[in-house]
């Protein structure tokens, strides 16, 4: 391989987060659902897939189940928060993230709680075992391409236009006889499905998961990606994922004295993000503002 295992690893992460970010953008940017519960879908997907695979389910089935299970929760979340809008929806969905975190932490018989799940098997598809970083990268690229293509088709279909209409003026849409609840839950289910898929890819790549991997810091990371990339822009989310995952790695190559290494990198990283948002307040490729 031309690139080192480390570079490969970074690319694997980038592709996993592209699926996650684009799926969040589908709910947040296109449909206008200020969803702070996305990280919970990611976690549900990771746990579902890990637990099923450990029980011996073939990987692809486990991955699809992870997506489906996450999307059931997506439906339930919309069901419970249908009447809420804007900030209130944000609060409620943030609460959902906390609830799921709490469940992962306290359903000890199923999730092993804070002990986490070590030794998650690497995927094997039709007898083809995926072991090295290189093989995983190829696999992730395939899944990512399919996922992003499907989401791209979704947002550019008539259904996608309805989602954007719901974001821009839900009342008018209802006057026109469209059921916005159906629109919202469909969008959320698709979004959650792909979050679940990326959770599965994450769990089987890192091979160890615990509840803290799916909590606030992760939520902030994916929100940052979507906001820096721009709402309602798939290529924005893709570009931002690359920037946000790759920049800290470049900062690693800076030769800093050990005592300040951690904090200086973090500070530089923050400065870069602030600079991007000062130059492009709507994000790199953003088209819309959220109220």
């Amino acid at each position: 391989m031309i690139i080192s295992a480390y570079q490969t690893h970074i690319f694997v992460l980038i592709f996993i987060y592209i699926i996650l970010a684009v799926s969040l953008n589908l709910a947040l940017g296109y449909t206008g659902l200020l969803n702070l519960g996305h990280v919970a879908f990611f976690g549900i997907g990771a746990y579902t897939s890990a637990l099923l695979a450990i029980e011996g389910m073939p990987y692809l089935a486990a991955m699809i189940s992870a997506g489906l299970f996450a999307s059931i929760f997506g439906y339930l979340l919309v069901r419970a928060t249908d009447k809420l809008k804007g900030d209130y929806l944000a609060m409620a969905t943030l609460g959902f993230s906390f609830v799921v975190y709490s469940l992962l932490l306290n359903l000890r018989d199923i999730t092993r709680g804070a002990m986490g799940i070590p030794g998650i098997p690497k995927p094997s598809i039709m007898g083809l075992a995926i072991r090295s970083n290189d093989q995983y990268l190829i696999f992730v690229v395939v899944v990512c391409t399919i996922s992003v293509y499907l989401m791209y088709r979704t947002v550019n279909s008539p259904f996608g236009k309805l989602l954007e209409a719901n974001r821009d003026n839900a009342l008018s849409l209802r006057v026109l006889g469209k059921n916005t609840f159906v629109l919202k839950y469909k969008a959320m289910m698709i979004s959650a499905f792909f979050a679940g898929i990326s959770g599965s890819l994450y769990a089987h790549y890192i091979t160890f998961i615990d509840p803290t991997s799916f909590y606030i810091s992760e939520l902030i990371l994916i929100l940052t990606i979507v906001i820096v990339g721009g709402l309602a822009s798939i290529r924005g989310s893709i570009a931002a994922t690359v920037v946000i995952i790759y920049v800290p790695e470049i900062l690693r190559t800076l030769d800093l004295p050990g005592s300040v290494l951690g904090p200086v990198r973090q500070a530089l990283y923050a400065v870069i993000l602030i600079a991007i948002l000062m130059i492009r307040p709507r994000g790199i490729f953003g088209k819309v503002d959220l109220e």
Binding site: I3, L13, L105, G113, A114, I206, D210, Y246, G262
Partner: protein, 367 residues
């Protein structure tokens, strides 16, 4: 049009970034071949919640490398922010870019467990100075640690409580890897020794209100309460609330209670007994003080020992991860944190002592 231009600019920037990444890889590999340097890594949380411990461990390990002053050893450090994903990234980076043969780290059990498969696959030795989870025992041949696992302290605590003729025990612990691990082992051992767990309560790591849990514990009427805490703030809040709620039971706790701030609670914490790993040697404490001008925090000594073990292996002629691993299994020495001898799982036995609060100070009890 503007977005088009921006897109091109982004591509250019990306190109530069990629190029930067690649050149870095090449140069470090070149130096590798020319000088036959053995690269050793240190990783741990240098930012985030556990930064205090991470930095202490790094300082401890660096102390050992500076003392040894080996010309053919090159040390690299990576921050893992106490996140599993970061630990995997750091490990991948050190293995494939820096070409490390051995790594001291990580501290957090979750991070160590996430990095372990990569170490194992690339035949790189990983010695954790602080991960106590029992899962680390089975993590692989290349995974060692210089801190005894939870089972050590758990069995010691259960034995101590049983020897003191307690039969009704209440447990209160942080709902994290450390708290759960320790509590499970104490429960198993104590029940085996004929005792009974009358209350089993958890609290969120870092929280400071445990009144609900303590009230439940009071209702269960235990003879003794064992507390597992790993942040100073929670320890103080907990002990204060134990008095407030009026729990009559004797109070025992894990080493997390051994922080100076609890002594400020005065009379009410008198008699609190703490199970703790053997304290670091006087010699190391002095060395650390001379080098950094402060008391050695927890895990500095264990990290020093981890680094020492790697240095000894290299001095014996080991140059690859595999040789270092083999050398470690046959190694035995008195380190800063106690006697170091790795068993077949790469664990150390470690020793424990009882520490009691007496007249406003921590007093180590003779065993």
């Amino acid at each position: 049009m503007r977005t088009g231009k921006l897109f091109i600019m982004m591509l250019i920037v990306l190109g530069i970034l990629l190029a930067a990444g690649c050149t870095d890889t090449e140069t470090s590999e070149e130096t590798e071949d020319e000088q036959e340097v053995i690269v050793v890594g240190i990783m741990g949380p240098y930012t985030g919640g556990a930064a205090v411990y991470g930095n202490a461990a790094k300082d401890g390990a660096m102390l050992a490398f500076e003392e040894a002053n080996l010309s053919n050893v090159w040390v690299v450090a990576e921050d893992t922010k106490s996140e599993t994903k970061e630990a995997v990234t750091a490990m991948n980076k050190m293995v494939s870019v820096d070409n490390v043969q051995a790594v001291v780290g990580d501290l957090i059990s979750a991070a160590t467990l996430a990095a372990a498969p990569i170490a194992e696959q690339n035949q790189v030795v990983l010695i954790s100075p602080a991960s106590t989870s029992t899962d680390v025992t089975d993590a692989g041949d290349y995974i060692f640690r210089t801190v005894p696992g939870d089972d050590g302290q758990g069995i010691f605590a259960a034995q101590t409580l049983s020897d003191a003729n307690y039969t009704k025990l209440a447990l209160l612990y942080t709902n994290d890897q450390y708290g759960n691990g320790l509590a499970t082992i104490i429960t198993d051992e104590f029940t085996k020794l004929g005792g009974e767990i009358v209350a089993d309560e958890t609290y969120e790591a870092g929280s400071s209100d445990m009144r609900t849990q303590l009230t439940k514990i009071k209702d269960a009427d235990p003879e003794v309460l064992y507390i597992v805490s790993n942040t100073p703030d929670s320890s103080v809040a907990l002990l204060r609330q134990v008095t407030e709620i009026g729990i009559e039971a004797d109070v025992y706790g894990s080493e997390g209670l051994k922080v100076a701030t609890i002594l400020e609670l005065g009379e009410s914490v008198e008699g609190t007994t703490i199970t703790s790993v053997t304290p670091e040697s006087e010699e190391f404490r002095q060395k650390y003080m001379d080098a950094y001008g402060e008391e050695a925090p927890a895990f500095a000594a264990q990290a020093y020992d981890a680094a020492t073990a790697i240095i000894m292996a290299i001095e014996q002629g080991a140059t690859t991860g595999e040789q270092i691993k083999d050398a470690l299994y046959g190694m035995e020495f008195d380190g800063a944190s106690g006697h170091i001898k790795f068993d077949e799982n790469g664990d150390v036995e470690g020793g424990y002592v009882l520490v009691e609060v007496r007249d406003g100070a921590f007093v180590t009890l003779e065993e």
